[in-house]
Amino acid sequence: MRLIVHDLAEPEYDAWLSGFCRETDEVIGLEGDIRHCVGCFGCWVRTPGTCVLKDSYKHMGERLAACEEFVLISRNVYGGYSPFVSNVLNRTLPYVLPYFTTKNGETHHQQRYERQIRFTVHFYGEGMTGAERETAQSLVGANALNLDASGYTVAFHDTLVSLKEVQ
């Protein structure tokens, strides 16, 4: 199963992504309120594995653990994700453990779950600069390392039309 998080408005989603998504996918879009992570660490030390904020995104850690592939479809905002996609990603913190390990000589989080996921990111937007593409590429690589992904892919789309062609 793929867990897909996107920031497209409903008409854009219907036009460009209804064909991209499969029946077995779990899709998270802009609907409903989402609270920002407040850095309380409650998902690590109060209710391990589950966020303490009471909204429909509190189980993001478990939802990530349940998928084979994690797909983000986001406008490229300054070389990163859009505020909404970033917000959902921030709420997946309970997917990892508070403890540290060393990978490639750097500190990273230990994994809560033994299984690995694939990480795929589609950035879209007109007029992305070279710097924004480069930063986005580095960001996805760094996220993949922290999520202990089995592999990752980054794609850039100048228009939503080319996103439709991905499938």
């Binding site: 609270r35 920002h36 992570c37 407040v38 850095g39 309380c40 660490f41 690590w44 030390v45 109060r46 391990p48 594995g49 589950t50 189980h59 850690g61 478990e62 653990a65 349940a66 905002v77 300054y78 070389g79 990163g80 994700y81 505020p83 909404f84 970033s86 917000n87 990603l89 921030n90 309970p94 453990l97 508070p98 403890y99 540290f100 750097e106 500190t107 990273h108 809560r112 779950y113 600069t129 710097a131 924004e132 480069e134 930063t135 580095s138 960001l139 760094a142 996220n143 922290n146």
Partner: protein, 218 residues
């Protein structure tokens, strides 16, 4: 000159970003007007965007989230970019970033510094430099340690370079540093004095922190 200090920690009370700003303040106070803004889950008011837009210097202090800028602060940056499209403000506003991350190595803040720099390009702002510091959660226990001493020796040197750049309103090479404290000792302290102590406060044993919520629900 007018210097706006933005504390971008999402926490409600004391924060590591706040501690870093407090350490910076005495170095840049002389001859300048300092104003502090708190951007957490509450967004800034329109008049506050107006104040930021008229400042001479903007210092963004924030924690690293998923190798980038926390989403609540990112929203503020997007809103500020839009605000500047409607109101011109100071065309020579320069931005500095003070980033702390929960890992040990300061260089893990580099991508977030690049995002701030890209935001500056989009928003008609000048990017000054960033200071990225590792082991951010140590700051609370080190808040009384003088800057430039013991574990804060590297931070002291970096803050002096940052303050010199702010006084001159100039751009400089970003600095990514860690505390003068061995990584292994920091890691042991984080595990036992921080995570296990927090677990105990919540009535949990250390091994319960490894709970696999996904498997339990099935």
């Amino acid at each position: 000159m007018r210097i706006a200090l933005v504390n971008g920690s999402p926490k409600g009370g004391a924060s590591n970003s706040g501690i870093l700003l407090e350490k910076l303040k005495p170095l840049i106070a002389e001859g300048n007007e300092l104003s502090v803004y708190r951007v957490n889950v509450k967004p800034l008011k329109p008049e506050q965007y107006g104040e930021l837009n008229e400042a001479d210097v903007l210092v963004l202090a924030f924690p690293l989230y998923f190798d980038a800028i926390p989403s609540h602060l990112l929203r503020m940056l997007v809103e500020f970019e839009q605000y500047r499209q409607s109101k011109q403000g100071n065309t020579d506003l320069i931005v500095y970033a003070l980033i702390n991350n929960g890992f040990y190595e300061g260089h893990q803040c580099k991508i977030a510094a690049d995002i701030v720099s890209n935001w500056c390009s989009r928003s008609g702002l000048r990017f000054g430099m960033a200071v990225g510091h590792g082991a951010g959660e140590m700051f609370k226990s080190l808040s009384r340690v003088p800057l430039g001493k013991g574990p804060l020796k590297n931070l002291g040197a970096a803050m002096h370079q940052l303050s010199a750049a702010i006084h001159a309103r100039s751009s400089a090479e970003s600095l990514f540093i860690q505390p003068n404290f061995p990584r292994i000792a920091w890691r042991l302290a984080a595990t036992h004095s921080f995570w296990h102590a927090q677990a105990k406060k919540n009535g949990l044993r250390p091994k319960e922190l490894r709970r696999q919520a996904f498997q339990q629900s099935r």
